[in-house]
Amino acid sequence: MKRFDPYLAPAVLGFGVLGFLSAEAAGLGFGPGVTGPLAWALAALALLVAALGAYRRPGGWTLFALIAALAGLAGPARPLLALAPVLAAFLLYGGLRHRLPERGAAAFWGWVFVWPSLALILVWHVLPGLFAFYISLFNKVSFITQSRFVGLLNYRILFHDPLFWRAMSNTFWYVVFTVPTGILLGTLVAVLLNERVRGLGLFRTLYFLPYITALTAAAAVWMWIYHPEFGFLNWLLGTPGFDWLHTPDGVFALLFRPLGVRLAGFWAGPSVAFVAIMAMSVWHLLGYNVVILLAGLQSIPRQYYEAAMIDGASWWQLQRHITWPLLSPTTFFLAIIGLIGAFQVFTQVYVMTPTGGVLNDTLTLTMYLYNKGFRDSDFSYASAIAVTVFWVILFLTLLQRRVLERRVTYGE
């Protein structure tokens, strides 16, 4: 039995899974449908490979190629038959189990363990990413109309779309406002909590609860707090009737108006409504930052502080020269996670301002994508937005890595 290749079983397995998936995809009309003469040509090719394999290297690969040819024949017509190789791999393994070398067993089981997840991730995460780009090249992909290849036209329209730029600048302000605020407030709370306070559990629960609260419910509560007539905030600030969530004036414009400076467009800043949503978002995410930062703080060795205190360092100096640099990997992690999360903000905006606010002042990128794709049924344009967002996030993440990582002090 030495002629059997230890990698035969995993290869057959992989072929079976991929064959099944592609046959299913072809059945649903994705990609070129492999039917008719093309299917026969492919089967003939597989048979040729099998014959060649048999001629060159008699043994395991021959069997594999034969199974491949059979599956190739069956695939387009009967997707379930393409699963035959999976069965074959198990039978092979069962028959050879006691003679298989260690490497063969590892190869077989490694792939058996990985395939279920890998197949799901390929189908629902990897291929859709490529598919999004593909459909963004068409004119108005929807279920009703026939679409036509238009190349990068959607992207060209997108770059001249004022609403897209509005959404982009709103999202930009959202990131700029919420991520640093969340990290700074989180650091403050975590540092204070790390001072061996009593009732740590209670405080941690208080700060952490908003994070596990569903955003939909939290947004409902904050809408009630922001209510113009009966809201708590207006009572607290003594501003009865102020409609927080329907005030489209930019905050910078409002701040600088008394100075006689008129700001408009992007420089007017996020609207009051959007800042209200940001405050709610910081409230929601703070607990996460606190917990992560607290874990980071607790991993800083106490000896550093003790040594510095013997040298007469003040509390502020301890924080500035020990805590902050040694906490920087955690802070950096939070900055990246926060950036990616903030770029996809949707739920609280959609619940609190379902129409995107007054004059689209709270329209975010994800919300614009949602509106284009699922309200206007323009899947290709929505995909163009999605792909653009992907590149922007990628670019910003890499930029952040370059700019911030130099300041990150990794321990040891």
Binding site: Y7, L28, F30, R103, A107, F108, W109, G110, F113, P116, S117, L118, L120, W124, H125, V126, P128, A132, I135, L192, L193, G201, F203, T205, L206, Y207, L209, P210, Y211, I212, T213, A214, L215, T216, A217, A218, A220, V221, W224, I225, E229, F230, W235, W283, V291, I292, G296, F343, Q344, F346, T347, Y350, V351, Y370, G373, F379, A382, S383, A386, F390
Partner: protein
């Protein structure tokens, strides 16, 4: 002495800042709970009401007695043949008060208001009203509107009215339910919200979705993570890099292609659409891989030499030792699935397939100005997670903390 004073001042400052911050963090929860037990009139006050009427023990007693008369001391109701008697203390003299049971707006025929016999009698110190259900039906609520002349002094109804308005020479007092029972009184808004939208179905959908995602997701991630950590199979590194690469793809890119695939499969508006796309999680695989790698390799080598198969290695050795990692991922997965709004919003259309969050989002639009019911619905929506948090506090916090350490 000075340093001692400074230390004490510093501690006081720390506690002051933490308490103030904690108060701000907790306030929305308090406000949600307080509003959820308020009547509409209490909720819609310019001046906030800190302790609503429905949280006052004096009213609980009356609610319990009235509920017992109507049917049940805990949940109230207005059962056939029962008589609910209600006393309003009123000093002085004046015309006879008027009382009626309001009809639902626009109703042509209302068995409750037509089938209830109302008796009004003058008793020492006030007026007594009795309501008798002459129908054969049991009603959940007994709403009552009472017009009491303003000439009476020291008016004190046995149960505080849900709304008092001035109507000419009369006070118009309203009760949304005059035979509430204790829970029916305190949790009135909860019960009404529960009946106003199919929340039971929403919870069922949410729990099936999140539960399946957690169970199957754990199984898949436990297997794949183990293979990446402890099985040396050909192609391991490239496949792992591919998986890590998918973490770069933001979720919003996947919305449209996955929606199209689901539509072609005919899976829209089914459990498949809610569950299947999110079963396998790269994050989970990565987390569990890290966990398995922290276990000693010798353990696996020894078992392998003793003839254990890889299946035994995974299910008998690795999994029992990786329980904290599994709990972390399970909690994360459940939170994500239960709290998600965007995806279920996209792939479901019918109310039967709404998750709690989508249902709540729809309820926000439908509830209008009844903020009491809306806050009750919100409280119900977050309750499972909060209760879970209090039962497994350590696992939650450590789980989240662990996710940040790579």
């Amino acid at each position: 002495m000075a340093s001692r004073l400074r230390f004490l001042l510093g501690r006081a400052l720390i506690y002051a800042v933490l308490t103030a911050g904690g108060g701000i963090m907790a306030f929305p929860f308090y406000w949600m709970l307080a509003t959820s037990v308020k009547s509409p009139q209490e909720a819609q006050q310019a001046e906030p009401i800190w302790v609503p009427q429905r949280m006052r023990p004096a009213n609980w007693q009356a609610a319990m007695r009235l509920g017992a008369e109507g049917g049940n001391r805990w949940w109230g109701g207005f059962a056939p043949g029962r008589t609910v008697t209600f006393f309003v203390a009123a000093g002085g003299e004046g015309p006879r008060p008027r009382v009626r049971i309001p009809k639902p707006p626009g109703a042509f025929h209302d068995p409750r208001s037509e089938g209830t016999r109302i008796a009004v009698e003058r008793v020492p110190g006030g007026w007594r009203f009795s309501f008798t259900n002459t129908t054969h039906r049991r009603f959940r609520l007994l709403p009552v509107v009472l017009y009491l002349p303003k000439s009476y002094r020291a008016v004190r109804p046995e149960l505080a009215p849900d709304a008092v308005r001035s109507a000419g020479d009369y006070w118009r007092m309203e009760w949304v339910n005059l035979s509430p029972g204790l829970f029916g009184y305190v949790f009135h808004n909860y019960r009404e919200a529960w009946h106003a939208a199919p929340f039971a179905r929403y919870f069922y959908v949410s729990f099936v979705t999140a539960g399946t995602q957690v169970v199957v997701g754990l199984f898949l991630a436990a297997m794949a993570g183990f293979a990446f950590a402890r099985v040396r199979f050909p192609g391991r590194e490239p496949v792992f890099l591919l998986l890590l690469g998918t973490m770069m793809i933001p979720g919003e890119v996947l919305l449209i292609p996955n929606y199209i695939v689901l539509a072609k499969l005919g899976w829209l508006d089914t459990f498949y659409a809610l569950i299947v796309p999110w079963l396998a999680s790269v994050f989970g695989i990565f987390l569990l891989r890290q966990f398995y790698r922290s276990l000693p390799q010798d353990l696996f080598d020894a078992a392998r030499i003793d003839g254990a198969s890889y299946l035994t290695l995974l299910f008998r050795i690795a999994l029992p030792l990786a329980v904290p990692g599994l709990v972390t991922f399970g909690i994360f997965n459940f939170l994500g699935a239960y709290n998600a709004l965007l995806w279920p919003l996209i792939v479901t259309q019918s109310p039967e397939m709404r998750t709690v969050q989508v249902g709540l989002q729809a309820f926000i639009g439908e509830a209008g100005s009844d903020y009491g019911q809306l806050m009750a619905a919100s409280t119900m929506a977050i309750l499972p997670i909060v209760v879970g948090y209090f039962f497994a506090q350590r696992q939650f916090v450590e789980g989240i903390a662990r996710s940040g350490i790579k």
